[in-house]
Symmetry: C2
Subunit: 367 residues, 2 copies
């Protein structure tokens, strides 16, 4: 008997067609050929996907549980996604909603390098929620971005993450930007004693990312922003393993909507590969996640799970100062509250608005 | 004035809301912050996205054309996707349907290394469609896969691509598989004079792929299968540039999670980065692409386009021997006809079925 994971899909089908549909997924996500053409007993017994259960959810949707051999994944991050949802992602009416992964597969991935405790230690905040701003807009030179970062740091914010659009453009090369922002934040820390941490956005191929991380670590930067759908899962997994002192905040850009359930995608899979903090679109912002999705996502990111450290949820995407209290009540303190554009839009009041943001988070009385 | 590309989205909206929605996309895909918060003239004039046109498509959908500064892409493959569709991919009711790219951006990417002419030269087939099988099932050891490849090669097939699930699993390590299949195909070529080319599937991180390609090239393998959504666009772009003698056939696995129109995704963007041949789900198979989508995709892959060589469309996903004539009439000769599982399901008749497949393609009289 080979070891199997269980992938759970929601499928649009009729009662008459669902068995064939479920069998089709089991084959698509394993051998991808007619089973009648296979005579090898090992392949038939241990590799071909198996329909474990089908449940009628009503309204024309069915939950299908498929057992997939973990041997096909070979403990590799890209292959994990390929085997969970590869070709099936292209088929109409099928969502990947969850996955139950055996301990040996989970244990083969490192999970977050820093985890919640590590990020809290960085911020010197053992119990409260962490605060983060975003460095924008795209198009400013390093000095312009550093000036904005400085004004947020003067307000006492914990973290400043790059906008995910900031890459290694000629108008703002990664190294120049990191140097300019780091210099600015060091000056403020020397004056105020408060150290704001900068998370620059990684881009380009694996070699470029390695060079960016090395430069950042040398400048005292403890954590980085990475977009796994742009970088590729194998590159994300590689930098997590190669730089165990570095933290990684993931950005969801290009991850599409809802074909992989966000609690699984960000809360389990990104975390397993190595996300210390996961940015995702909070309910009620510019994107369409429901409150229930957000609750499940945060719960998945924080749940005890073998040796995998917990990740901090980073609800974002159009958050404003007016929502801070509501977000803290909704998410509790194991959260990074990220306010991006709405802070920057306050222009000359930026430092004052950050002070108010930081103070609201620090003083919040949880119900 | 900065140079701009035009990204074209289809958006679900009301007539009353579409202007705000379009403006929202222009901001989301450029500076991602309230424009009121920006005072830098260069950013306002040259970087902030611009709504160029809005057209009512009826039925509650609108076509929105957004001008995006190419400077934000910095000629990098990952950033190309990030800027075209990153955060917008997470929003409900928005598809990226096309992109008009200025010459300078197109010219910064190499396109296919071999192109249609190069693949035709490999197969010794200057005019007819090319034939391809798929090596499966997942789970067989190298010797078992090599035996299946040999039986397809004896039938005279041009190309054998790995199943995209074949990675570097302990039961079939990449190098052992490549060696076993190459030995088998060389033996048959020595006997028959017909050389079938094997396209093994690349997996793992960039370093692993580089090692796989080096090993393959050393064994005389001219082209490789790569799944850009698994590998990551930056890794795909990197191996295309680093190995100009190698060809690359792309596989669409996991691409369903991004709602990008297939003619743009495979026919333009994959081609621009370096796909010599693009596998995609043909209409009437296991997936839901329409005939019109397939026609547009093939046209985009083949169209004259600056210095970018044409790619060969590879319609696939449940194709059968019975459809060969219809597929040739539909697509014409600049096509790779790929029949995977249906050939393998014929078991002991495999070589005979491949002979018939090859003969049907060679003798096809185009209307």
């Amino acid at each position: 008997m080979s070891e199997r994971l269980t992938a759970i899909y929601h499928v649009t089908a009729t009662a008459a067609s669902i068995e064939a549909r479920a069998h089709g997924i089991a084959v698509e996500q394993s051998v991808e050929m007619p089973v009648e053409g296979i005579d090898d007993a090992h392949v038939l017994n241990d590799i071909v996907g198996r329909v474990e259960a089908i449940a009628d959810l009503g309204t024309g949707r069915f939950e299908v549980r498929i057992g997939l051999a973990t041997a096909t994944i070979a403990n590799e991050a890209g292959q994990l996604f390929n085997m969970l949802f590869g070709n099936t992602s292209i088929q109409d009416g099928i969502d990947l909603v969850d996955a139950e992964l055996p301990a040996s597969l989970v244990d083969a991935f490192p999970g977050p390098n820093l985890g919640t405790a590590g990020l809290r230690a960085l911020a010197g905040a053992p119990a409260r929620a962490l605060t983060s701003g975003a460095l924008k807009p795209q198009g400013l030179p390093p000095a312009g971005l550093a000036a904005i970062a400085a004004r947020m740091a003067e307000g006492g914010i914990d973290l400043i993450k790059d906008d995910h659009g900031l890459a290694d453009q000629p108008y703002s090369p990664f190294i120049d930007r990191v140097d300019a922002v780091t210099d600015a934040l060091e000056n403020i820390a020397a004056r105020s004693g408060h150290r704001t941490h900068y998370l620059p956005s990684l881009s380009g191929n694996l070699d470029a990312m390695r060079a960016q991380i090395r430069h950042g670590l040398a400048r005292g930067i403890p954590a980085f922003l990475i977009a796994p759908l742009i970088a590729g899962m194998p590159s994300f997994a590689t930098v997590v393993r190669e730089f165990p002192a570095a933290g990684f905040m993931t950005h969801p850009t290009l991850s599409g909507i809802a074909r992989i359930a966000p609690p699984l995608f960000y809360g389990k899979l990104f975390r397993m590969i190595g996300a210390d903090a996961v940015v995702y679109p909070n309910h009620g912002g510019r994107f369409g996640y429901s409150p229930a999705t957000c609750t499940s996502l945060a719960a998945a990111a924080r749940a005890p799970w073998r040796a995998i450290k917990p990740s901090l949820p980073v609800p974002a995407g159009g958050m404003t100062q007016a929502r801070i209290g509501e977000m803290l009540d909704f998410y509790g303190p194991d959260t990074i509250v990220l306010i991006g554009g709405a802070l920057l839009a306050t222009r000359e009041r930026l430092t004052h608005e950050v002070e108010a943001f930081v103070s609201t988070v620090a003083r919040h009385a949880f119900a």
